[in-house]
C-alpha cells in the first residue's frame, strides 16, 4: 500500500464538468446509466466565480450528489507578477461554499504586467524559479487554508538555462512547498514526445506519496509535435502510460478531461470505465 498525503482521497474516476453535462450532474439523470459511472466532477474554478445564474445552481446541485474538485487555470504560480489577492479571495469564497475535495492549478505562468494570457506557459527549471514558485504555492496554501495540487503542463519548448529536469523540479517543489502533485499523464506523454525524454522515467522520478490525482485526455498528432487538445479520446500510448502510473502511484483519483468535440456522456463514461478497469486490475481485480 502506498502512503499518500492526507487530504487527497481515492475518489475513483471523475469527469470534467462542461456545459453539456450540467443537467446530468445537477439532477443525476442521463440517457442510460452513464452518469452513474462518474464518481466525482472537476470544474474549472474560474467558470464558477460568477455571483449566480445557472453555473452556480449547477455546481451546488452537482456538489449535493458527488464530490467536486476545483481546478484553476489562472493562479499563474510561476509569474513574476504579484499573486492576485482578489482572485484568491474569490477562490477561497467559492471553496467555502462548495467545500471541494481539493483545489488544484498548474505549474506554469500565465500573466505579466497585469495582463492575462489565458494559456499555460512553461517555466524554466532553475533554482530561482523553484524558490519563486515554492514561496507562492506556500502563500496560496496559507490563504486557502489547505494543501493544493500542482499539475505538470504539456509543453512545446524548454529553456537552455534550465538546470534540472521537470520531475526534479516537481519533486523539489512538492517538498519545499509541502504541496501535492496532479500528474497529467497525457501531458507527460505529449511533453515526452515534444522534447524527446522517456515518459516512463519521468513517472518513475516522481515521489509516490505526493501524487493526489491523475489527468487523462486526448491530444492531436501533428507532423512536428503533439498538441494537447482535449478534443478526442485518450490514445493507446497514454492508456499504456496510465497503466504504469497506476502501478507506481496506486489507485489515485483519475479525471478525464474533454473540452472540445464533446461526445455524448455515454461515450466518455466508457473511457471512465476503462480507467476504472485499469485501477481494479492494479488491485489484483478486487472491487472496492
Amino acid at each position: 500500500m502506498i502512503g499518500r498525503m492526507e487530504g487527497f482521497a481515492a475518489l475513483g474516476q471523475g469527469l470534467g464538468l462542461r456545459p453539456p453535462f450540467y443537467e446530468a450532474a445537477a439532477t443525476g439523470a442521463s440517457s442510460g446509466t452513464a452518469v452513474a459511472a462518474v464518481d466525482w466532477w472537476e470544474v474549472i474554478s474560474e467558470n464558477f466565480m460568477g455571483e449566480g445564474g445557472n453555473p452556480r445552481r449547477v455546481l451546488r446541485a452537482a456538489r449535493a450528489r458527488r464530490p467536486i474538485v476545483l481546478h484553476g487555470v489562472s493562479m499563474s504560480l510561476g509569474s513574476t507578477d504579484p499573486l492576485d489577492a482578489r482572485y484568491l479571495d474569490r477562490l477561497a469564497a467559492l471553496a467555502a461554499e462548495i467545500e471541494p475535495a481539493w483545489i488544484s492549478d498548474h505549474l506554469c505562468w500565465s500573466s505579466l504586467g497585469g495582463h492575462r494570457a489565458h494559456d499555460l506557459w512553461p517555466l524554466p527549471f532553475t533554482e530561482e524559479a523553484l524558490r519563486h514558485v515554492a514561496a507562492r504555492v506556500a502563500r496560496v496554501q496559507e490563504r486557502l487554508g489547505r494543501r493544493i495540487l500542482v499539475e505538470n503542463v504539456s509543453s512545446y519548448l524548454t529553456y537552455r538555462h534550465s538546470t534540472m529536469s521537470e520531475p526534479e523540479f516537481l519533486t523539489a517543489l512538492a517538498e519545499r512547498a509541502d504541496c501535492g502533485l496532479l500528474l497529467d499523464v497525457n501531458n507527460v506523454f505529449v511533453s515526452a514526445h515534444n522534447h524527446g525524454f522517456d515518459a516512463v522515467a519521468f513517472l518513475d522520478a516522481i515521489p509516490r506519496e505526493r501524487v493526489g490525482q491523475f489527468h487523462l485526455a486526448g491530444h492531436e498528432t501533428l507532423p512536428t509535435h503533439l498538441r494537447d487538445t482535449h478534443d478526442r479520446p485518450v490514445c493507446d500510448g497514454v492508456w499504456e502510460l496510465y497503466r504504469h502510473a497506476v502501478a507506481r502511484f496506486g489507485d489515485v483519483a483519475t479525471l478525464l478531461e474533454r473540452d472540445d468535440h464533446i461526445p455524448p456522456l455515454d461515450e466518455l463514461c466508457a473511457e471512465l470505465r476503462h480507467a476504472g478497469e485499469i485501477a481494479r486490475a492494479s488491485r489484483g481485480g478486487a472491487d472496492k
Partner: protein, 277 residues
C-alpha cells in the same frame, strides 16, 4: 537568465501583433541570437517555431472566445473583417482579468471607435447587446415578485409596494434598433435605420431576455434602478396628462409586465429590514 527577463521576452514575442518569425526578423540578428540562447530548438522544431506554437495558441484561443461571445456581431461584420478587428483589439486591450469571460468586455467600446465600427455604428450597439446578455448569465440571483404573488397582494399593500428591479438586468440606450439584426443570422440583413431605442436586458430564472421598451417605460425603469419607487409614486407620476383611472391602468399594466417578465424583486417579509441599495 533571470526569470523576470525570460518572462518579459517570452511575453513580448508570443503576444506581438505579428508572428514570432516576423518579430524576430524585424529585431535583427541580435534578437534571433537571444531567442536561440533562450529556447532549445532542434531540426524538427527550431526555437522560433516552438515559440510560434505558443503565439498561435494565444491568439487562436482568445479569438475563438470573442467569436463565440460576439457571434452575431462577427456575423454582421463578416468573418474576413472580424479577424483584423480581433488583432487590433487584443493589441489595444490586453486581457487583464483571471476569467476568460472578461476578455471581450471592452470590445463594444473598442469597436465603436474602430474604423470597422465607425463605418457601421450599429455594430458596436449590437456588440453591447451581446455583451449585456452574456453578463446576465451568471449575474447575481434574487427572489422575484411573481405575477401570482402580485395578484394575491392585499389591496392596502399595493400603495406602499416597493418596486425594485432584480440585480441581473441592464438598460441600454442605442441609436439604432439592433433587435432585428440580433434576431437575424443573415450577414446581409438590412442595415438598421437610425432609431433611438431603449433596450432592457435581464435574466429570469436561468434564461436571458431582451426587449425594446418605450420612452415612458424606459424612464420608469431608470427610476426603479435609482430606488425609492413605490406603486403609489408610479401611479402619481403616470397621472400627468392622464385621468386617475388611466394612470392606474397604465401602472398596473407596467407592474404586471415587469412581474410577468421576472424583473421585480420579491418584497422583503414584513418587519425585516431592506438590504442597503
Amino acid at each position: 537568465m533571470k526569470l523576470a527577463d525570460l518572462e518579459a521576452r517570452f511575453y513580448e514575442l508570443v503576444t506581438a501583433r505579428d508572428s514570432v518569425a516576423v518579430t524576430v526578423a524585424e529585431g535583427g540578428p541580435e534578437v534571433r541570437r537571444a531567442v536561440e540562447q533562450m529556447v532549445v530548438g532542434d531540426a524538427r522544431l527550431p526555437a522560433i517555431a516552438r515559440l510560434e506554437i505558443y503565439a498561435d495558441m494565444y491568439f487562436t484561443r482568445l479569438r475563438d472566445v470573442l467569436a463565440e461571445e460576439y457571434a452575431k456581431t462577427a456575423a454582421a461584420l463578416g468573418g474576413a473583417a472580424f479577424h483584423p478587428l480581433v488583432v487590433d483589439y487584443l493589441d489595444a486591450c490586453r486581457p487583464d482579468h483571471p476569467s476568460m469571460r472578461e476578455v471581450g468586455a471592452r470590445l463594444p467600446s473598442f469597436l465603436a471607435a474602430h474604423p470597422a465600427g465607425a463605418r457601421r455604428p450599429w455594430l458596436a450597439e449590437l456588440a453591447r447587446l451581446e455583451r449585456a446578455r452574456l453578463e446576465m448569465v451568471d449575474g447575481a440571483d434574487a427572489e422575484t415578485l411573481t405575477l401570482e404573488a402580485l395578484r394575491t397582494l392585499p389591496p392596502e399593500r399595493f400603495a406602499t409596494l416597493d418596486l425594485r428591479l432584480v440585480p441581473s438586468h441592464a438598460l441600454l440606450a442605442t441609436r439604432f434598433d439592433v433587435v432585428p439584426l440580433w434576431r437575424s443570422d443573415d450577414p446581409g440583413a438590412p442595415v438598421p435605420a437610425p432609431s433611438p431605442t431603449a433596450l432592457l436586458v435581464w435574466r429570469c430564472e436561468l434564461e436571458v431576455f431582451h426587449r425594446a421598451v418605450d420612452a415612458e417605460e424606459g424612464d420608469w425603469l431608470r427610476r426603479l434602478e435609482s430606488g425609492d419607487v413605490m406603486f403609489a409614486s408610479l401611479c402619481a407620476g403616470l397621472g400627468r396628462g392622464r385621468s386617475d383611472e388611466a394612470a392606474a391602468a397604465r401602472a398596473f399594466e407596467l407592474v404586471g409586465r415587469w412581474a410577468s417578465d421576472g424583473l421585480l424583486r420579491a418584497p422583503e417579509p414584513e418587519g425585516s429590514e431592506l438590504p442597503p441599495r
